[in-house]
């Protein structure tokens, strides 16, 4: 996507005028993706307006908006939406701030820089169930965890993280996984900063802070927005970390939208009710996706 404009437009047109039927090439992908997009969604939509409970086969029939009104009256929905917001918001702030600072830090020359970078990136490649269990058992366990041991060593009462600070604990785990993602993207972006531009700024008298705020940060702004949007899409449906640590609890303290739908649908088997929740999740994700697609398409046009 980096060819010169006139050349590429000429090339595009040139390729266009060859009489090649591209349908057999393109359509397999389009058809499977179309089915994947439309069939489950249509089913969710359908289930969300009928009475459908796997534990109670007698309960049938058209429900209209009943599932939705029940859902909207259910305080758990609002708790789960709030929890989703807290989880997504906190992780976004942590990952973007630390990701940016790390990107600047690891862009400096120092001995062993490449190895240090690899260490920082590593958590992103760890499967979510492993990360969650390592933190749950080996770091944050109230008896055997490393943090508890450190606390005892200095004479403090060990904290029972998942009981006393459940949301905080989940946020720590998720942030640990996603800071490397933000770091990786922003480091790549920062490396594309023209070194002559930095040299010009230095000659103009920019100190380290002015350099960061007036040169580096503006350069990173687009990458940061991409990070925010992609992370949001994934974070909206954080599931595995909650599954292996808190199971949404204690109470509903760590129940996010994904967990709520899972527990209503696959633990309580109320398909209709869960599907209404699913539609809400789809709507939320689409709002974010709208902005992401707009950014990417702008990028596509810039070529």
């Amino acid at each position: 996507m980096t060819t010169l404009a006139p050349a590429s437009s000429a090339a595009v047109a040139a390729k266009n005028n060859r009489q090649v039927d591209t349908r057999p090439l393109l359509w397999p992908s389009v058809i499977v993706l179309f089915l994947w997009m439309i069939v489950p969604l249509a089913m969710t939509l359908y289930f969300s307006v009928i009475r459908y409970n796997l534990l109670n086969p007698a309960l049938t029939g058209f429900a209209g908006l009943e599932n939705y009104t029940f859902l909207l009256d259910d305080p758990t929905l609002w708790t789960s939406l709030w929890n989703t917001l807290v989880l997504v918001g906190s992780v976004l702030v942590i990952t973007v701030v630390l990701g940016t600072l790390f990107a600047v830090l690891y862009n400096q020359e120092f001995p062993g820089r490449n190895v240090a970078r690899l260490l920082v990136i590593a958590p992103f490649f760890v499967m979510p169930t492993v990360s969650a269990l390592v933190w749950k058992n080996m770091m944050m366990h109230p008896v055997y965890g490393l943090i508890a041991s450190l606390q005892s060593m200095v004479g403090l009462q060990p904290t029972d993280w998942f009981t006393d600070y459940p949301m905080f604990s989940v946020i720590v785990i998720v942030a640990w996984q996603w800071v490397p993602f933000a770091f990786l993207i922003l480091l790549t972006a920062i490396q594309s900063l023209d070194s002559e531009q930095k040299e010009a700024a230095r000659i103009d008298g920019a100190g380290p802070f002015a350099m960061f705020f007036y040169i580096t940060l503006p350069h990173l702004s687009r990458a940061i927005s991409v990070v925010i949007m992609i992370e949001t899409i994934f974070l909206l449906t954080i599931f595995a970390e909650i599954y292996v640590t808190t199971s949404g609890g204690p109470g509903t303290a760590t129940t996010n939208l994904a967990w709520l739908i899972y527990s209503v649908g696959l633990l309580q088997f109320d398909v209709g009710y869960a599907s209404a929740g699913g539609i809400i999740a789809v709507i939320l994700a689409n709002i974010v996706a709208f902005f992401l697609v707009r950014t990417v398409s702008r990028n596509l046009q810039q070529g």
Binding site: P6, S9, A10, A13, A14, N17
Partner: protein, 377 residues
């Protein structure tokens, strides 16, 4: 025999017309250069001949056969691309033999043809290398070799030398010219470099804005430009243009008043021109000398560039017009000097208000001489 004939060729990208109706006749074994500023449509035109761009309207024939709808491979052409476009994953040998392999030519014959081309281009020691391991000049040679192997009726070159350094460019220029006389093939060559155009072509086609401005031998374009655009495009430094008024018209030429008051009679066919008309005088920097000629121009030297053999003086005339003069390398002229430049009437061109040149009374003796006559070697 491979004439290439373009009849009213047009190309549009959507609503934008890139080529606006072009007629060109290219004779067998001719070396034709398309030249023009960037965006003039010369590369598009070449790619249309190659079959890489569709032809919106008009007729293209090669060797007497309409080829508008033939695929590139069936047109009897071969093309050398600006970036060489070698297949990076194939050896030199495979690059050169690829077209024959696709055409299912027997292996022994492919080897024979490839080895023959390699011998001509002195590529023998490089045959098993990948393009990555070659220098720019060697890649260029392989690209030419790939074209030769196809034994085409027409060779097409799309700015093939623009990625080479200056010294190599001169060398390859000579090789391509020699290849032309050795191969008896028609060649069409696109460049934006007028030196390449002047040195290689039998016939130059000057394009601008999708229109043919002039077709002719190199010296014809130099001495008899059809209009102001061609006059300004051919020749370096570019031709000087001065606004002048017509003082009188006579059979031997038009008498004009130079800035500064001198009269000069330029030997052109007057046509409808009459006294009092405004014309543009064109005179090349190399045709201005210090001292006096048939008429003189006076001004102040603002910048003096010494190239050794020649000296370029950028002169502000007394009426404010800037002109360039190529004076002797040993000239003592300095910045801020008052300078007098002599003009010889037979080297002058006159252009009417519509930009067209007034025909010169006498044809330049070398105007019809190209770089060797087509077909003769």
């Amino acid at each position: 025999m491979a004439e290439v004939v373009l009849r009213n060729i047009k190309k549009s990208f959507g609503p934008v017309d890139i080529i606006k109706g072009v007629d060109i006749d290219i004779n067998d074994k001719e070396f034709v250069v398309f030249v023009g500023p960037s965006g003039c449509g010369k590369s598009t035109l070449l790619r249309m001949i190659a079959g890489l761009e569709s032809i919106t309207d008009g007729e293209l024939s090669i060797d007497g056969k309409r080829v508008n709808d033939l695929s590139p491979a069936d047109r009897g052409i071969a093309m050398v691309f600006q970036t060489y476009a070698l297949y990076p994953h194939m050896t030199v040998r495979d690059n050169m033999g690829f077209s024959l392999k696709l055409a299912k030519v027997p292996k022994a014959e492919i080897d024979r043809k490839v080895n023959e081309a390699a011998r001509i281009l002195k590529l023998d020691p490089l045959m098993d290398r990948k393009p990555k391991a070659l220098s720019g000049g060697q890649r260029q040679r392989v690209a030419i070799g790939r074209a030769i192997v196809r034994n085409p009726k027409v060779f097409l070159f799309d700015e093939p030398l623009s990625n080479l350094d200056a010294a190599l460019r001169v060398q390859m220029r000579i090789e391509i010219a020699r290849m032309h006389s050795d191969f008896d093939a028609t060649m069409i060559y696109v460049t934006h470099d007028q030196v390449e155009a002047m040195t290689m072509a039998n016939k130059i086609v000057v394009l601008q804005g999708g229109i043919v401005e002039q077709v002719g031998s190199p010296l014809e374009l130099y001495h008899h430009p059809r209009n102001r655009f061609v006059a300004g495009f051919i020749g370096s430094p570019t031709m000087n243009f001065l606004d002048v008024a017509v003082k009188g018209v006579a059979p031997e030429g038009i008498t004009i008043e130079l800035p500064g008051g001198d009269s000069l009679t330029v030997p052109v066919v007057a046509g409808a021109t009459k006294a009092g008309d405004k014309l543009t005088l064109g005179v090349r920097p190399e045709h201005l000398q210090e001292g006096s000629g048939d008429g003189k121009l006076t001004g102040t030297a603002l910048v003096v560039e010494r190239l050794g053999g020649a000296t370029y003086a950028y002169v502000k005339l007394d009426n404010g017009t800037m002109i360039t003069a190529e004076v002797d390398g040993n000239s003592h002229i300095k910045v801020d000097d008052q300078i007098q430049l002599g003009v010889r009437s037979e080297t002058c061109h006159l252009f009417a208000a519509d930009g067209l040149a007034l025909a010169q009374s006498a044809r330049h003796p070398l105007a019809d001489v190209g770089r060797g006559n087509p077909g003769a070697h």
